[in-house]
Amino acid sequence: MIDLKGYGPELAQGAVVTVELALLSLLLALFLGLTGAAAKLSASRVARTVATVYTTIVRGVPDLVMMLLLYYGGQVMVNNLSDWLYEQYQIDWFFQFDPFISGILTIGLIFGAYMAETFRGAFLAVETGQIEAARAYGFTQWHTFRRVMVPQMMRHALPGIGNNWQVLLKTTALVSIIGLTDMVRVAEEAAKAERSPFLFFIPVAAVYLALTAVSELFIKWLNRRANVGVVQGEG
């Protein structure tokens, strides 16, 4: 491991935090995206409205503002809830909003909205004949979803998911602002202390580049797999 004036191990730990944060946020985003897409395509007017409000707010507000609101506001809300629970029911409950959880929640919420759009488009791209055929075979709604919709929609959704992932990965840098000791935070503190910004920020930038490059290869591989059996180049 490169020593970097003794900050090397700390930076490496920070990089692990960054990757963990990104993967957990992705998981939440995928879940919210599927839910959001289902809501947008559902027959219920209420579900459609809620999903539209959600995606509209996310697209209008900067990620950093949302993160600050969730981190500082979330704690105030939990404190109030905790006081209320104690006064009303004598329940001693408390929850500390740390930067890591706030980061996952915010990034998951933001990219959930983008994923919802991706999944919505992908679901619409599945031929209705396929769904009708599944129903005709007596598939339940869940089975139709699991066995017919998802495998065919993935091929359309993957490029969008890939793009969102690449942006998400870079968004994780923002969590250093609310105090998470990811690699950006470590580099910033080291750069200030040692007065040599290039020495610390350039390796961090290189790690981000490496992560995006590896992701690109992985997404390409996934794409190839999802498109197995599709005749390419047909007009």
Binding site: G60, V61, L69, V184
Partner: protein, 240 residues
């Protein structure tokens, strides 16, 4: 001002004339920063996009490296490198540049400009590469020079294809500019952070600023829809 607004303003302790003025200052700083970086970024990106489409690798290669580096790393890192790094350049503190880059506004402007120029270059590269061959052949048949072809045929046609992706980039830039507050610039987010720490009122401070950002975003969306309608007028069905 309508009476119910003044009545509401009288009752609350946070949104006094002082804090409203702070938000206004923040708005001015945000708009300046975003507008300037977008305009300079666009001016830089168009020639770079033309170079990027060059068949010669030693022309397109360096531009590719530039866009790859700036699109592959977070804007926050770029901002830190420029903000902390400029002061470390040997001798800069003795030149007149130091008077400019001592203010946090200009390092931030430089970082934002370089970042948006990289994304815009790629948007325009795609749009230029997608120019129908027939249009270029027709222009050649008319005896147009390379420059005239570019100016009259390729660029206007590319602009039409690029406008939708570019509008996303503009909104992305507006939202990304919120990180200017970490290098002590009092932009909209910076104002909200100051007001939050003064009153310890996260909801009031951040919801207010979120609403301002939303208003700005929808204003931009509306303006770009108008622009798209204008640029793509010829594609509308007849009589519509």
């Amino acid at each position: 001002m309508p009476e119910f607004i003044t009545a509401w303003l009288d009752r609350n302790e946070i949104f006094t004339a002082m804090t409203l003025l702070e938000y206004w200052q923040g708005l001015v700083n945000t708009v300046q920063l975003v507008f300037l970086s977008l305009v300079i970024g666009l001016v830089v990106a168009i020639p770079l996009a033309i170079l990027r489409n060059s068949p010669r690798w030693w022309v397109s290669g360096p531009v590719w490296i530039y866009t790859y580096l700036f699109r592959g790393t977070p804007l926050l890192i770029q901002l830190y490198i420029i903000y902390y790094g400029l002061a470390q350049i040997p001798g800069i503190q003795d030149t007149f540049w130091w008077n400019i880059f001592r203010e946090p506004f200009y390092p931030a402007l430089l970082a934002f400009t370089l970042n948006t120029a990289a994304y815009t270059t790629e948007i325009f590269r795609g749009a230029i590469a997608a120019t129908p061959q027939g249009e270029i052949e027709a222009a050649k048949a008319y005896g147009m020079s390379w420059f005239l072809r570019l100016y009259r045929i390729v660029l206007p046609s590319a602009a039409r294809r690029a406008v939708q992706a570019y509008s996303n980039e503009v909104i992305f830039m507006l939202h990304a500019s919120a990180i200017a507050s970490v290098v002590t610039i009092v932009d909209l987010t910076g104002a909200a952070r100051n007001i939050y720490s003064r009153f310890y009122a996260p909801f009031d401070a951040f919801v207010a600023v979120a609403l301002i950002y939303m208003a700005l975003t929808f204003l931009l969306v509306f303006a770009f829809r108008k622009l798209e309608n204008h640029l793509l007028k010829h594609q509308r069905p007849a009589g519509g």
